[in-house]
């Protein structure tokens, strides 16, 4: 272990706030200006501690008889052997000392596409949002053509995109180093496109092959999409934490889906979003065959058992 030594002041989350290099031992630490390392902490003494060579050759930090003392972990100590990862708190300041030969981990592989930052993805996201808004307006427009509607809808969509993405950019600036507004806009645009695209696709598939459960539980796909969007926003802010963020978003999505199920059950007495599939599409989009009236009536007959069981389940008299 050899010098020079680096004293690092840490934030509560472990981030380094300030570094100071000391060429030789001992290093005197305190608030007074004759120290080697000057602390800006009202809770530290003028001459708080000294870091010196220990008897075994390691670093030793010693309390110089202060009121608040040295703290390691949750315990107050009089003196302490310092390794490269030992964090000592004095007053409100946490610090650690590392020798010049302290090993650092290998560099991370950079997967960020640096070309896809800024204006490019931003414009793509805004365009995507505008197009989705236009498509939805066109799809649900049953009034005679009104140009204003087709201007207002994309404007509103883009406004929402900017608002949402600025919020994420702000958070990004707080916790990451950059705003990355373009990226966040792109994520929002893709999210909206996925959201509406999936609903449309689910409706078409459900109609084509009589897969009613696709529309019946469509809200869960929406929940998953929203969770995905939030994951990508978070991963843009903190790329190294991807795995943990993925788990958090998955748990949040499961919670939200269960909430949807519970609310449906409470409000409508069923876990599905709707009682029956209301989708009607042009005849070319259908692949499943028609049943005969007799087959259909057999299905209706089959419901009787379930209804009678339901009637028996709760005794009459709970009514009125």
């Amino acid at each position: 272990m050899s010098g020079p030594w680096t004293v690092e002041i840490l934030a509560r989350n472990g981030e380094v706030l300030h570094r100071h290099r000391a060429a030789s031992l001992p290093i005197r630490v305190g608030r007074a200006y004759d120290n080697d390392f000057v602390l800006d902490d009202e809770y530290a003494a003028a001459h708080h501690a000294v870091i010196e060579q220990g008897p075994d050759g390691g670093l030793l930090m010693r309390d110089l008889g202060t009121r608040n003392g040295l703290n390691h972990g949750r315990k107050r100590v009089q003196q302490l052997v310092l390794g490269g990862d030992t964090v000592v708190r004095m007053g409100h300041t946490s610090l650690r000392v590392r020798a010049a030969d302290f090993p650092v981990p290998a560099e991370l592989l950079d997967r960020t596409m640096h070309g896809f930052e800024g204006v490019g993805p931003g414009v793509a996201g805004v365009l995507l949002t505008g197009l989705v808004a236009l498509l939805v307006t066109w799809l649900f427009d049953a009034q005679p053509f009104e140009l204003l509607n087709y201007v207002l809808a994309p404007a509103a969509g883009i406004g929402a995109a900017l608002l949402w993405s600025s919020m994420w950019a702000f958070v990004n600036r707080l916790f990451g180093r950059y705003t990355r507004l373009g990226r966040h806009l792109f994520i929002f645009g893709c999210g909206m496109a996925a959201l509406s695209g999936f609903q449309l696709l689910a409706a078409i598939l459900a109609y084509a092959w009589s897969l009613e459960s696709l529309t019946r539980y469509a809200s869960h796909a929406a929940v998953a999409t929203v969770a995905g969007v939030i994951y990508f926003h978070l991963a843009t802010i903190k790329p190294p934490l991807r795995r943990r963020l993925r788990a958090i978003c998955a748990v949040a999505a499961v919670l939200a889906s269960s909430l949807v199920l519970i609310v449906n059950q409470q409000r409508h007495g069923r876990v599905a979003d709707e009682l029956y599939m209301a989708v009607l599409l042009p005849p070319e989009l259908r692949a499943s065959p028609d049943a005969t009236v007799a087959e259909y009536m057999a299905d209706v007959e089959a419901m009787r058992k379930e209804l009678d069981a339901e009637r028996e389940a709760q005794p009459a008299g709970g009514g009125n």
Binding site: G269, Y276, P283, E295, Y296, L307
Partner: protein
């Protein structure tokens, strides 16, 4: 001088303020004394006949001058004088606290101790005897307990037993008296819980609009008079007051006396009053639905054409059809609708009516909407069907079947939802929703509601209705139909 003027002015204001509240206090408590609420009829029914007893009390000043009774003739005076001993008010009371929940009228038959009234006056006691009880109050203010002997839900009649005997004024003849149109009838009862009253009007024949015959009476019948008798000048009962048209003037209805006779005969035959009326009511409702469905399906449903589609309807004395269209509306599509519904339903309780059939057809088309927006519009229209609240404790939650079905000539998307009655075993509400799937630029969406039927009959009606859809094959489906919808009726 100025001061005295001001003092006089102040004095005037003070006396005004002092007398105003005493005015309030002097007003009789009648306005607040009828807490019962009348049920809102289902939306497809015309605003007729509140089968409820007493509506919410009108606010002060809101009392309608038209409801005031015309001055009675001397015949009415004599009649009331001799009838008052046999005229009763029937009050439903909550067992807890004995506060009244609804009020109606009734009359002692002959010299016996039986009282005839409406079922809807005593429905709470019949359905929930644990919660409700009843008492009578006579014209002198004496009251006593009543015992429910029999109910006839279909004709809205009930028979009670009391601890006193009639004077024999109200005669229920063995064979109904012959009435001639225009003949004067006197209707007695306790309107709006204000006090006993008599009103006169003309007999106007038998109405066949409701499923069971009723007599039309050209005099005022108000809530609270329900269950009171309508008699000829000599005290022979012609009918029992039952309802009025809310949208009409003095258009009221009576239950013909022959049903009273039948019910009295049934009471005479039964050894003891039934303990639980729910199974009896269920049996009567089952009997009603049998007759209703048999009559509905006694001949094949009529087929009308809507654009390129052929739709089943039934138009009869009981099932009336109405049409409407949005031709002038600011939309990019045209919608023609036709709906047929029975004008009356069977009253079970203030929150439940049953034994009803209605069918609706909507034909939507558009020349200037693209295929996908039109599909989205059709989906929205198809998805708005209301099937009642799931929290409704009287019915189970709906169970549905949905499939693509092909009738003889028309492919359809069909959804059937059924709910079972919790209190009445064997009764169900059926709803069938259909939407045509043959064309991308037009859509026929229909709805059939049959309430209070057995499972077999619900299936029968559903099958008959579903099987009757078809296409006008002479006309290619792609050609939009003329804007004028067929089978549109004139509103009166």
């Amino acid at each position: 001088m100025k001061r005295t003027a001001a003092a006089i002015l102040l004095c005037c204001l003070a006396t005004g303020a002092a007398t105003a509240p005493s005015d309030q206090a002097a007003r009789p408590p009648r306005v607040t004394s009828s807490p019962a609420t009348a049920p809102a009829p289902p939306p497809h029914l015309p605003p007729s006949a509140p089968p409820g007893t007493t509506p919410p009390a009108p606010a002060p000043g809101e009392i309608d001058a038209q409801d005031a009774l015309p001055p009675p003739s001397s015949a009415a005076q004599d009649l009331y004088a001799s009838a008052r001993g046999d005229l009763l008010q029937i009050r439903m009371l909550l067992k807890n606290g004995r506060t009244q929940s609804t009020v109606g009228s009734g009359f002692l038959v002959g010299t016996g101790n039986l009282v005839v009234t409406n079922y809807h006056v005593v429905s709470q006691m019949a359905l929930d005897p644990d919660v409700y009880t009843a008492e009578y109050v006579d014209t002198d203010g004496n009251s006593g307990p009543v015992e429910l002997m029999a109910v006839d839900v279909l004709h809205d009649l009930a028979v009670l037993r009391v601890d006193r005997s009639g004077s024999g004024f109200f005669k229920v003849p063995e064979r109904p008296a012959r009435l001639t149109q225009g003949q004067r009838l006197y209707s007695l009862g306790n309107p709006l819980d204000l006090g006993f009253a008599i009103s006169e009007g003309a007999y106007n024949g038998v109405v066949t609009r409701s499923f069971y015959d009723q007599l039309m009476f050209g005099g005022p019948i108000n809530s609270g008079m329900s269950g009171g008798p309508s008699v000829t000048g000599n005290g022979t009962v012609a009918g029992v007051n039952v309802s009025k048209r809310r949208d009409g003037e003095s258009v009221s209805f009576l239950v013909p006396v022959k049903y009273v006779q039948e019910l009295l005969r049934r009471v005479a035959a039964q050894p003891a009053p039934p303990r639980d009326f729910n199974p009896l009511i269920a049996a009567q409702l089952l009997e009603h639905q049998r007759a209703m469905v048999d009559r509905l399906l006694e001949e094949p449903l009529a087929i009308k054409s809507m654009g390129p589609y052929l739709v089943p309807v039934r138009e009869s004395g009981q099932l009336r059809c109405w049409g409407r269209s949005n031709v002038k509306a600011e939309t990019a599509y045209t919608l023609d609708a036709m709906s047929c519904a029975m004008e009356s339903a069977i009253y079970v309780s203030s929150s439940q009516q049953t034994g009803h059939v209605s069918m609706t057809h909507q034909y939507v088309r558009s020349d200037n909407l693209a295929r996908l927006p039109f599909a989205a519009l059709a989906s929205r229209l198809f998805g708005t069907a209301q099937l009642g609240s799931a929290g409704d404790q009287r019915l189970t939650k709906p169970v549905c079947t949905e499939r693509f079905v092909h009738t003889r000539t028309l492919p359809l998307r069909a959804v059937t939802c059924v709910r079972a009655y919790r209190k009445f075993e064997g009764l169900y509400n059926f709803t069938l929703l259909t939407a045509s799937t043959n064309a991308a630029e037009s859509s026929l969406q229909s709805r059939l509601d049959v309430s209070g039927v057995s499972y077999e009959n619900g299936m029968r009606v559903t099958r008959a209705f579903l099987g009757s859809f078809g296409r006008n094959l002479r006309r290619p489906a792609a050609v939009p139909a003329p804007a004028a919808a067929p089978a549109r009726e004139k509103k009166p």
